[in-house]
Symmetry: C2
Subunit: 469 residues, 2 copies
């Protein structure tokens, strides 16, 4: 069986168009700090009419192959995690096949995985399992997480975001799976869902969703700790991992979640905590599970106790989620990308524990072991290729009015046909794919921005419509 | 690594409500034989307002666990293949978790896989890979294929159908994967897709879809033969497999497909065919690929040549697809179930080659080796449990007017909320789950028919709405 299977390379793309949460807060008439401190968010990326989950995936996959020098023929599996439905039957993966067909490679397994923000994790597990299975043919796997998170006007709107992440999968990886250390919790819930098929917006019960998230976290952590004990012969505590990465709908929930893990450690074994911490959490030790999710004093006390550890083990993972927003399937991996951006090759030897959550609900805690590997698949090169600082710096901030106008246009565009988009791609970086047209048969056409000229002819670099060739 | 991983057990469910193709043909004013001979279809199952892809999955999973005596706690992975979207974010898998939560098992990996009729195959491959991977925890996997295929009035309407299939996955299986023998073809095409999000009906180009299907078949067969030669050190011909199972949108395409494989054998090595057959195909040996898909004379000649082999190697797989219709993700496995129903334990030692196709497009040819295994996971017990003859016999034929009326009702119901369904479940068999209500928040409630009484109280056996417990 292939060894140290995991993530060899990563790239991330998010739209260059964004809005500051402080400006949105003021525009919405929300109390000062509601989005920035209450939610813990700084900025939010969004797609204009030129971009969607397909264009973002085309951009990030093309970029990854180019920047790591991977031949399109070396890919043997490609799968996508997404909850942004443009077509209910035709997978996003088939759109991406345009990249590979050009090189004569159509023998590529995998389709799309779906369950809210968890689809990317499912795709990643599937791809790693493929490399370890007897059906592996020696080629690389490729996992893409792509989503555009938009909400109707109201309290959930500032929790949007958009991004696509591509991850190359294979053996001997700098980001290797510790596959025996994994705990899942899956159940039937209606915390966030998309039953209104004609609308891009979800039905969301914010309070229920937060409780579901924290209950799933507790349950996954319990399973994870049980498995750790079985494999390692000792108890798992927060101190056994160097970093913790959480699916991040908004940063405040990440702060609560890490505190919740600490509270779990405390309940399991109070003496795993320092004396002062123990005292602060003691009053809450007799709360029922249900009560503990609603108790504000516990929330406050546990976050206070956890703060130094949060700064050390979680804060380095929060950059992109705070700056770009909720990217659904891409959120967890954008948080992980932030860690690589911040810590680079110092991560070699570290254990990183990740919590993936998708409403509805599906959740898993799993563990990665980071390793020193050779260029181009080294942690430092991954950081260089992703160029997160550069991408964040080159963004264009929209004033709230223009953001709201864009959201209104996108509402009308969702599911529509007979559309020709703006010819002005000036805000996009060179190499970015963008939507040019949806024809009368709902067929979608994309072009690649090939120079920095603000007006690109719509046929320049266009990907032709597929005719099953 | 686990050995002989594959399908340990199967069960199938299709709605008891159906329409004879002959009656539909007459009602539609189609020429006599258009549906029965032209498409090769006998009968078509459909969901009334009481059933959907979720209820059918609940029915078939519950039935499989019961009939094979599998404890709900023994399941470690559950994944669903479907292209019938009821919710764009919340997976069908999370609805099925209700079955397992009751027994305290929430640590079950897997979500939904999507690409037209191929999602079930993707789920199956993922599940088999999981058992062979280092993340396997020793428990069973469970794969569910569930779809309801409905079309707008017009030429595609008779190609509908509905079913759900459940397959238990593990090592030492009577239906084992030959995982090295696999060829895929995936590309970007608009042959059949569902871009109109508010409608249950697809956009379909019947002629293009058939060509895409046959081109994908050719390409997969080429890859499959290449891999066979690499592994076995000799060429693969039709004679190297005992049975061929095809995704079956309608039976006529299956007849064409098998003939196409034979034509491929002929092109690769004319002397692999008998003298008479060679002569009949010779005139077509210089056709270009493109021409060969449109050539009616070739179609006729190759089907004529293939007929005796078709009767031997394909006909035993056609019962359910002809009687139930296109079941999308479940179609291929319903065809395979027909083979087990017809041939039972005589299949031990046989190689069965399957072709899975999903528009958009994704396709794979793969190989199974059938084996003599112990009860309850024996081929003969699988046949007994599925009780296909019994299920076909106990159906209720609707007259065309009542079928059309049902389709109209279902059009209005698709994506709707605030619905209470009929209390009359008399047509359903005991043990069948059915939809009772969609509330004002789009939350769906199901009940299980617990006796043969025609009126069951809506709360009897009801599955409570999930509250993330």
């Amino acid at each position: 069986m292939a060894k140290n299977v995991g993530i060899l390379a990563m790239d991330i793309y998010f739209p260059p168009t964004c809005i500051q949460q402080e400006a949105l807060e003021a525009h919405d008439g929300a109390s000062k700090g509601k989005y920035t401190i209450g939610l813990g968010q700084d900025c939010m990326a969004f797609c204009t009419e030129l971009e969607d989950v397909i264009s973002m995936s085309l951009t990030v996959v093309t970029s990854l192959l180019e920047k790591y020098g991977v031949d399109a023929k070396q890919i043997g599996r490609l799968e996508v995690g997404s909850e942004t439905v443009i077509d209910k039957s035709k997978s996003i993966k088939t759109f991406l096949m345009q990249i590979f067909e050009k090189f004569g490679n159509t023998d590529i397994e995998g389709v799309d995985s779906t369950n809210a923000c968890y689809g990317g994790t499912a795709a990643l597990f599937n791809c790693v399992n493929w490399v370890e299975s007897s059906s592996w043919d020696g080629r690389y796997g490729l996992v893409v997480c792509t989503d555009s998170a938009v909400y109707a006007e109201g309290p959930a709107r500032p929790t949007g975001g958009a991004a696509a992440i591509a991850m190359l999968i294979g053996p001997d990886a700098p980001i290797a799976f510790e596959s025996k250390l994994r705990g899942s919790h899956m159940s039937h819930a209606y915390d966030f869902y998309k039953p209104n098929l004609a609308s891009e917006y979800p039905v969301v019960d914010g309070k229920l969703s937060q409780t579901c998230y924290l209950m799933a976290l507790d349950s996954c952590y319990k399973h994870f700790c049980d498995k750790y004990e079985k494999v390692e012969g000792k108890q798992f505590y927060i101190s056994d991992a160097d970093y913790f990465v959480f699916h991040s709908p908004y940063n405040k929930l990440v702060q609560k979640s890490f505190a919740r893990l600490l509270f779990n450690d405390f309940l399991r074994n109070p003496s795993s905590l320092a004396e002062g911490a123990k005292e602060k959490l003691h009053p809450f030790s007799t709360l029922s599970g249900e009560e503990s999710y609603q108790n504000r004093d516990l929330e406050k006390a546990s976050q206070q106790v956890a703060k130094p550890l949060y700064d050390e083990k979680v804060q380095p993972t929060t950059l992109i989620p705070k700056q770009v927003g909720n990217m659904y399937t891409a959120s967890l991996y954008a948080a992980f990308a932030s860690l690589i951006h911040n810590k680079k090759s110092t991560l070699a030897g570290n254990r990183v524990v990740l919590f993936s959550y998708g409403s509805g609900l599906t959740a898993t805690i799993f563990s990665l072991r980071l390793r020193d590997c050779q260029h181009p698949f080294s942690l430092s090169n991954i950081s260089t290729v992703m160029d997160i600082a550069g991408k964040l710096k080159s963004r264009h901030e929209f004033p709230p009015e223009k953001f709201v106008e864009t959201m209104k246009l996108m509402e009308h565009r969702y599911g529509a046909k007979d559309i020709v988009t703006s010819k002005d791609s000036s805000l996009l970086l060179t190499g970015t794919y963008y939507l040019t047209e949806v024809d009368s048969m709902y067929r979608r056409f994309y072009a690649k921005k090939t120079s920095d000229s603000s007006i690109t002819p719509s046929n320049n670099g266009s990907i032709a419509n597929g005719h099953c060739k």
